[in-house]
Symmetry: C2
């Protein structure tokens, strides 16, 4: 994998990844395909999404879920993750580290790695830096993530816990690099350190000293307040090397993406567009809608008359509300197509406006249209 920084507008970056499965224009949003499918849509529907990119150039898979079901031997028997899932473009896999964190009651962490119980059948499994890399290589991932330890969530977590998780993350990062067997997949390191500036500095120094192909900011969007999240993302992004891609894991709302692109982040993933879709919450440039609201029952207008997605070109809010109430599968599909289109459209706009040199004005306008405030004065380079 290579990364080219094509241009900047303030701190916002326009770049291009070249992966074994094609190019990825950044800033980029990566739809989440937890169990080997982006929930509710076919690969063909993804490829036809549009949004200025002819569909996503990269999607995400979850090592934790795939190792439990269908299992790595099955993924290999079915030709690897790309072939199995019918996805011709790039795939990023996480390492399982985040699930270890989010399911931590079931988990025992030692220096060697993690022993955890499957959420499916209670069986015991192990993950370590070595096996996490081995699994991701076996899946055929284009971008693999280092196996990290996320500290507990929230603004008030004791510092010693955050420090311990960070230090272990650094030791494991080295082991991940040493565990690589293939040279066709990139490996990204993950900076931890909670919402503490000093720890983020220490972690960024330790992780960027290692020969990773890109750098992620982990441990955010896990319960801390939005101002802390934005402030930490901004602070940490500035500590990362210019010539490598920067990935903010698990983030976020449209405003989070717009703000963090403005802080110099290149890559994002989040279940929000797909999960919210299934819960009838849809995004638009003019603000978000809940399609379960009774006022939409006989509304013949699309979700967003200005949207070019398949759903908005063909279906009314009233019909979508009916499908949701009737628990029809089609609802999830159509709402997911719309929300993913919106996120791709957002990132296509970001790329275009970085190129044009008016990213901050454009993104502040868009946040205002959506009824959201841009980041506070001082932290937002384009703020008037």
């Amino acid at each position: 994998m290579t990364f080219q920084l094509l241009g900047k507008d303030g701190e916002a970056r326009r770049g291009r990844l070249e992966t074994s499965h094609g190019p990825v224009e950044t800033p980029v949003f990566m739809p989440v395909g937890t169990q080997g499918t982006v929930k509710g849509v076919t690969p063909a529907q993804l490829l036809e999404l549009g949004g200025g990119t002819q569909g996503p150039q990269i999607i995400l898979g979850n090592t934790y879920h795939l190792m439990l079901r269908p299992g790595v031997e099955t993924v290999q028997a079915l030709g690897g993750l790309h072939t199995m899932a019918g996805w011709p473009r790039a795939m990023l896999t996480d390492s399982g580290g985040y699930q270890v964190y989010s399911l931590r009651e079931r988990t025992k962490v030692t220096e060697a790695g993690v022993r955890f119980r499957s959420h499916i059948d209670g069986s015991y499994h192990d993950l370590s830096p070595e096996s996490a890399v081995g699994l991701q290589e076996a899946f055929g991932s284009d971008i693999m993530m280092a196996f990290d330890q996320c500290p507990p969530a929230g603004d008030g977590v004791p510092k010693n816990q955050v420090v311990a998780a960070m230090k272990r993350t650094h030791r494991w990062a080295r082991r991940c690099i040493d565990a690589r067997q293939r040279d066709d997949g990139a490996l990204f390191g993950i900076v931890q350190g909670g919402v503490d500036r000093d720890l983020r500095s220490i972690s960024a120094s330790a992780i960027t000293a290692l020969p990773f192909d890109g750098f992620a900011i982990g441990g955010l969007s896990v319960g801390e307040s939005r101002p802390r999240m934005w402030e930490t993302a901004q602070y940490t992004a500035a500590l990362l090397p210019e010539n490598h891609p920067r990935y903010l894991m698990g983030v976020g709302t449209p405003e989070d993406l717009l703000a963090c692109v403005g802080f110099g982040i290149d890559m994002f993933d989040c279940v929000m567009p797909t999960r919210n879709a299934r819960n009838a919450k849809v995004f638009t440039a003019a603000g978000d809608l809940n399609l379960r609201n009774a006022k939409h029952a006989r509304d013949a207008a699309p979700i967003d008359p200005a949207c070019g997605c398949y759903t908005c070109r063909n279906f009314s809010r009233g019909y979508l509300r009916h499908l949701d109430k009737a628990k029809e599968i089609l609802f999830s599909t159509l709402a997911t197509l719309h929300n993913l289109y919106f996120y791709l459209w957002l990132m296509a706009g970001a790329r275009r406006h970085i190129e044009a040199g008016d990213y901050y004005a454009w993104s502040a306008d868009l946040m205002a249209q959506r009824g959201a405030a841009p980041p506070g004065r001082g932290s937002w380079p384009g703020e008037p």
Copy 2:
């Protein structure tokens, strides 16, 4: 609507309906779109299905379900059923008569019509010949069905019950014709009479004496044995006028379709391909598969290597089984696309082989390949 009989091979008929929403080549299978959507697939996916027909030329909607949810006023506010559902081709609606039958504990039938309780919220509703036609006209249906009364199911139902339901169906048929307000939708009459030849003769005489645009055989595939069903369908089809379309309601398996095309039926609908798909049962020319079977877990082959559907061109049995086990929406979509493609492929084959004059040999071969027996000697014109 017009119907042209283009040719025959024995009793099998090759025809063409011209509806307000385009042509329908017969014999035809109509996918069922109960609540205003064919479950699990988008209209675009239906239109791209292929199977020799570039997707179905007609789909079905259920008056009973649509009148309860979203309700006729909502369907009208959203532009009628075609516009609401984003379906550009023909739609047939049933009259609600079958649901009255299948939900009969909740139902009170009088000469005026039927009072029933909604399965959704227990509220009371009425259906009559007049309101069933009025609803279907309000939906904008291309082919409307008369409001009939189905007798109880099974081979051993007392004859007086079957006679009473049949006679009421005849009286209601006249009222349906008198209730028509629009001339852009066709109206089909329904022949009842259970599995009794004499009653089917009486019913066919009564219904075909009325100025309907087509004729349906109702009250089959409701619990009677397959030989009785086939025998009754064959007997009744022969009583229907040559120059009108013949529709066998709610039927059936691939073998049912092949047999009944051979008896001179033109139109079919059934939930089987869509419902079975969601239960992991898929059809192929070489026999049917249950994708939940453990033997498919690491099988990299598609459902049917000879099938041209999107699912078979892109996905393995092993991946499909994984999606089903993981309860992913995508499973329903991919299995539905395959099963509908199979049914459309089957009917495209029937049309082609009727034209070629070898329908009975082709269909007997196909049944044999599928491990099914063709109809018994004597009833099957092509039987060697």
